[in-house]
């Protein structure tokens, strides 16, 4: 029988269920809403969900996935070869282990806000 959904393991955080036709980031958003990604060290970085803004950059440690277009401004050829993706633009084809590239920093109001580790360009 062909699998229709997979487990997305987020390194040091938890795991989410993801359908084969679902963007990995969207599955992570749902899992966060259900409290399944505690303790996520930072709020899940969700932006355009369509491969353009680069905020959901992640590194795939293990697993197979289907890739859809993502901006070269955020995933260079070198990044791609090193296993980096925008998690909004991949669909699972096996269980995946990934590492989020987000970092936390304290904003002016003491509220934790998300930023990419590197300057978007």
């Amino acid at each position: 029988m062909t699998a229709t959904h997979f487990r997305i393991y987020v390194k040091d955080v938890g795991a989410a269920d993801c359908n084969i036709d679902e963007r990995v980031l969207v599955a992570l958003e749902r899992a966060q809403g259900l409290g399944q990604l505690n303790p996520l060290p930072c709020k899940l970085p969700v932006g355009c969900r369509r491969g353009g803004c680069g905020i959901c950059k992640a590194k795939i440690v293990t697993g197979e996935f289907l890739r859809t277009p993502m901006s070269r401004s955020h995933i260079s050829v070198d990044d791609e070869q090193a296993g980096f993706v925008l998690s909004c633009s991949i669909y699972p084809r096996s269980d995946l282990l990934l590492k989020l590239e987000c970092s936390t920093k304290t904003g002016t109001k003491g509220k934790k806000v998300i930023s990419n580790e590197e300057e978007n360009q």
Partner: protein, 306 residues
């Protein structure tokens, strides 16, 4: 009020990662019409409620974002007049020949200190569909999708917002309608060439040349709700809304095209006259300024751009 010089936004050229899905989005969902496809693959789109040849250009590229936003001026001699003023201001002006985009006359172009390319043109052929002019029915073909009536404005992110403010007001004769933040350290500026609450806006951001959103005008709040139904039905990536902006008072939804470029559809907004004072929002009210009902910024507003 005599409306001379810069009339309005003319077109914006967007980069998209995948052309077929972009066409489906802007034509079937937003409600634009495809006018033509250029020999280089660029796609030219318009609303049926616009007269001019096109208002949105899609270019296939490896990164999302915008190439250029162009404004239409009243007459050809305005291009020479503005070229002198822009050159005198210290910016380098280049020239794009007629028909580099179909139906558009000669253009002059220059780079803002925020890293955005702006162009001016005076001539545009008309294209179908367009508004009727003899005993005009409200439309020739019934509107489809979100029923967008025009490409209305763009919010651009980059450095040197106050330099852009000075340039647009003192060289292109725009008016500043609203600002956010303290004088001397403005967070955002809203600029109008006519009587709309804004035709272009800029927000301070460290990376140059970024696109926050392009916006399409809808007829009313009911159409904003209809647009929200389309966003849900077709699983379009939502950012926020329906809600209202304190700035401009527009009723709005933010969402993303299939390449991650943020779109807005909105209705309403105040009428601006050039004798009106600037409306200002201080930092303590920035949440209400941007999202009037939520009264707080979402994470994406300040950080998600293409």
């Amino acid at each position: 009020m005599a409306h001379t010089g810069v009339l309005r936004p003319g077109f914006i050229q967007l980069r998209v990662l995948d052309m077929p899905s972009a066409i489906t989005h802007y034509v079937d969902r937003i409600g634009l019409h495809q006018v033509s496809e250029g020999p280089d693959g660029r796609i030219y789109l318009k609303s049926a409620d616009e007269f001019d040849h096109h208002s949105v250009v899609l270019r296939r590229a490896d990164s999302a974002g915008m190439d250029v936003m162009a404004f239409k001026v009243a007459k050809d001699s305005d291009l020479d007049r503005f070229e002198k003023r822009i050159t005198d201001y210290g910016y380098v002006v280049d020239h794009i020949p007629p028909e580099e985009q179909p139906g558009i006359g000669r253009r002059i172009g220059f780079m803002l200190e925020s890293g955005h390319r702006i162009e001016l043109f005076a001539h545009a052929e008309q294209s179908d569909p367009k508004p009727l002019t003899l005993n005009p029915d409200v439309w020739d073909y019934e509107p489809h999708g979100m029923r967008a009536r025009r490409f209305d404005h763009a919010l651009l992110y980059g450095p040197n917002v106050e330099k852009n403010l000075d340039f647009f007001c003192n060289v292109l004769d725009f008016s500043c309608t609203e600002t956010v933040g303290p004088t001397g350290n403005l967070i955002a500026v809203f600029l109008s060439a006519g009587m709309k609450a804004h035709d272009i806006a800029f927000a301070n951001y460290p990376s140059p040349g970024k696109l926050h959103h392009i916006s399409f005008e809808l007829e009313n709040w009911n159409d904003v709700g209809h647009a929200a139904d389309i966003i849900a039905r077709y699983d379009i990536s939502i950012d926020i809304g329906p809600t209202r902006h304190g700035i401009t008072r527009g009723q709005t939804i933010y969402f993303f095209d299939p390449s991650g470029n943020r779109n807005e559809v909105f209705a309403g907004g105040f009428t601006f006259y050039p004798d009106h004072p600037i409306r200002t929002w201080d930092e303590g009210h920035v949440g209400k300024a941007i999202f009037y009902y939520e009264r707080v910024l979402n994470d994406a507003f300040l950080s998600v751009v293409t």
